[in-house]
């Protein structure tokens, strides 16, 4: 992780993963900026973390549950209130052709 320069191709790949359609000039600018930021944060590799448990959350809590009780749903017009496009009771998106990754699974 010492020589952490991010290449333009990597930046392009990350933009794709991030679902950001960035133009070439933005990609180039980002590759410089991300390079210097990543170089700075690479400091963390200096620290000896042997035997240290990662701390994903600020407080050591567990088992914070909800009882299985039904609460009201939103009325349909509120569900669709902010939808950029809708068709009847549905959210509407451009035609999706098969072959893409599937939903939950």
């Amino acid at each position: 992780m010492a020589e952490q320069k991010i290449t333009l191709d990597q930046v392009r790949h990350v933009a794709k993963l991030s679902r950001l359609a960035l133009d070439e000039s933005r990609l180039e600018k980002f590759s410089v900026q991300l390079g210097s930021i990543l170089e700075y944060v690479a400091k963390i590799s200096e620290v000896n973390v042997t035997g240290i448990e990662p701390m994903a959350q600020a407080l050591p809590m567990h088992n914070v549950f909800r009882e299985d009780i039904v609460e009201p749903s939103l009325p349909l017009e509120k569900v669709l209130q902010n939808a950029p496009d809708a068709d009847g009771p549905f959210f509407k998106v451009p035609k999706i052709i098969g072959g893409e990754e599937d939903s939950a699974g």
């Binding site: 992780m1 991010i6 990597q10 930046v11 990350v14 933009a15 794709k16 993963l17 991030s18 679902r19 950001l20 359609a21 960035l22 933005r26 980002f30 900026q33 991300l34 210097s36 930021i37 990543l38 700075y40 944060v41 690479a42 400091k43 963390i44 590799s45 200096e46 620290v47 973390v49 240290i52 448990e53 990662p54 701390m55 994903a56 959350q57 600020a58 407080l59 809590m61 914070v64 909800r66 939103l74 509120k78 569900v79 209130q81 902010n82 939808a83 950029p84 496009d85 959210f91 998106v93 451009p94 999706i96 052709i97 893409e100």
Partner: protein, 488 residues
């Protein structure tokens, strides 16, 4: 001008009918009319609704500890009234169908919501310059920034457009603007205040907190907004004390921790340093003992922060894709991926994009261990540093920001330099502890700028933290100064 510009004073005045809530609210709205064009603190105003709420207070229909007092909300708190924009094109027209828990609590306490304040887009920034709509101006010098990301909330208060306000703090976003605007700002312990309805930036770091002109005002707001919320699994089930009850009682045997690592911080403004040193002396005069403490992992704080926060943000902001809500590109698209990618590229500003990119990269296959996992381990070390330090002292004292308010545009070219200003604030969020910023002086010059003192306290140590802050406040007049916007 507000006849009563602080929260408790205004509340008591309304309560004792020295002034009606409608009158007070009108004064706030008039002030906004007059001053707002120069400050640009608000994204939206709830003028008519605020007057309705005020009327209800005057009619005795709304009561509570905040009854009738005008306050402002950061525009990343969801309200079923009006829009919740996060100062982003992405959410420019977003109308939440629900109220954040804190909004419900404030309204149940009788508060009058005057409007929603500007921020750095999705709370990512330290100056409000990352707002998609406008840069808020510092009321002490309108050529300068108010700090950020809760710059709108800090400036609205400092400019006298409300009696108190609410912000959110992920890496200093309450404390730094409080410091730059000369008001008091508290970042509570993680889990003290429900995050339900706070638009997430970095879920494990975000915390909502109050701005007030003084410590008692913040204590009163904490009384209202704290507590477990069944809708936020990370909010803690711990009794909420009355933060006002013993506020004015000085703490005996007070031990102030001075971290040697903070003394070494680069880029410290000499006027900030001398003001903070003077405040330290003041505590000694009040009988406090100074204790040397060490926070050895301080220098890795910003690095760890700029891994953890972007990683979480990249995931939290994935939902903005132009399908169910938010901006959708008007351009023709050939497939759904293009719809997502164009909508997001158009809807998000550059800083948000940058952080999404960093986070996506750091979480992606092959990099997770080196970045995110390692940052979480450093987080554990930073927390351990604080735990050990708080065995020796009650609070740790340091500046909030290494510099006073800077000029708009001064730091926008280099994101990394902007990040480095967070040196004193980020570790508080990383460790989940409480921190407060309060005025401790002003710079010299024709337009004196406020300087902020930061006190960091242990987890759920707000009661003590507020008392210790109050001890200092009671001996100084910094919190009584107001910017002279009339003569500008």
């Amino acid at each position: 001008m507000l006849a009563y510009d602080t929260l408790l004073a205004a509340r008591d005045a309304v309560r004792s009918k020295k002034i009606s809530s409608v009158e007070l609210t009108r004064q706030a709205l008039d002030r906004i009319d007059k001053i707002e064009p120069r400050i640009l603190a608000f994204n939206s105003l709830f003028a008519d609704r605020a007057l309705e709420q005020a009327k209800d207070v005057d009619a005795g229909k709304r009561t509570g500890p905040l009854a009738g007092v005008p306050i402002a909300l950061k525009d990343n708190l969801c309200t079923s009234h009006g829009t919740t924009t996060c100062s982003s094109r992405m959410l420019e027209n977003f109308r939440a169908p629900y109220d954040a828990t804190i909004v419900k609590k404030l309204e149940a306490a009788g508060a009058v919501i005057v409007g929603k304040t500007n921020l750095d887009e999705f709370a990512m920034g330290s100056s409000t310059e990352n707002s998609a709509f406008k840069t808020t101006r510092n009321p002490w010098d309108t050529a300068r920034v108010p700090g950020g990301s809760s710059g709108g909330s800090a400036a609205a208060l400092a400019a006298g457009m409300c009696c108190a306000s609410i912000g959110s703090d992920t890496g200093g976003s309450i404390r730094q603007p409080a410091s730059l605007c000369g008001v008091v700002g508290l970042k509570p312990t993680y889990g003290r205040v429900s995050r339900y309805g706070l638009v997430a930036f970095a879920s494990s770091l975000d915390q909502i907190g109050p701005f007030g002109w003084n410590v008692p005002d913040c204590a009163l707001l904490m009384n209202v907004i704290s507590g477990r919320d069944p809708k936020d699994a990370t909010s803690v089930d711990q009794a909420v004390p009355d933060y006002l009850k013993q506020l004015d009682e000085p703490l005996k045997g007070l031990r102030i921790g001075i971290a040697r690592e903070y003394q070494l911080a680069a880029g410290m403004d000499p006027q900030v340093k001398s003001a903070v040193d003077a405040a330290t002396k003041k505590y000694q005069e009040l009988g406090a003992q100074l204790v040397d403490v060490s926070l050895p992992h301080t220098e890795y704080g910003i690095a760890a922060y700029y891994v953890i926060a972007p990683c979480e943000a990249s995931s939290n902001l994935a939902r903005y894709d132009g399908v169910h809500f938010g901006h959708r590109t008007k351009d023709p698209v050939k497939d759904i991926i293009e719809l997502f990618s164009k909508s997001r590229a158009e809807g998000f500003g550059e800083e948000v994009q940058r952080r999404i990119m960093i986070g996506t990269y750091a979480l992606s296959s092959g990099y997770y261990d080196a970045y995110y996992l390692r940052a979480l381990k450093i987080r554990a070390l930073i927390k351990r540093d604080f735990d050990q330090a708080f065995e020796k002292c009650d609070v740790i004292l340091c500046p909030t920001s290494p510099t006073p308010a800077f000029k708009a545009g001064e730091k926008t070219g280099d994101p990394l330099q902007m990040y480095l200003c967070d040196v004193f604030t980020v570790t508080c969020n990383i460790a989940g502890i409480a921190g407060i910023s309060l005025p401790c002086g002003f710079t010299t010059g024709p337009k004196p700028l406020p300087i902020g003192l930061q006190l960091l306290g242990p987890t759920f140590g707000e009661e003590k933290l507020l008392r210790i802050a109050r001890m200092y406040e009671l001996t100084t007049d910094w919190h009584k100064r107001r910017p002279s916007l009339e003569t500008n």
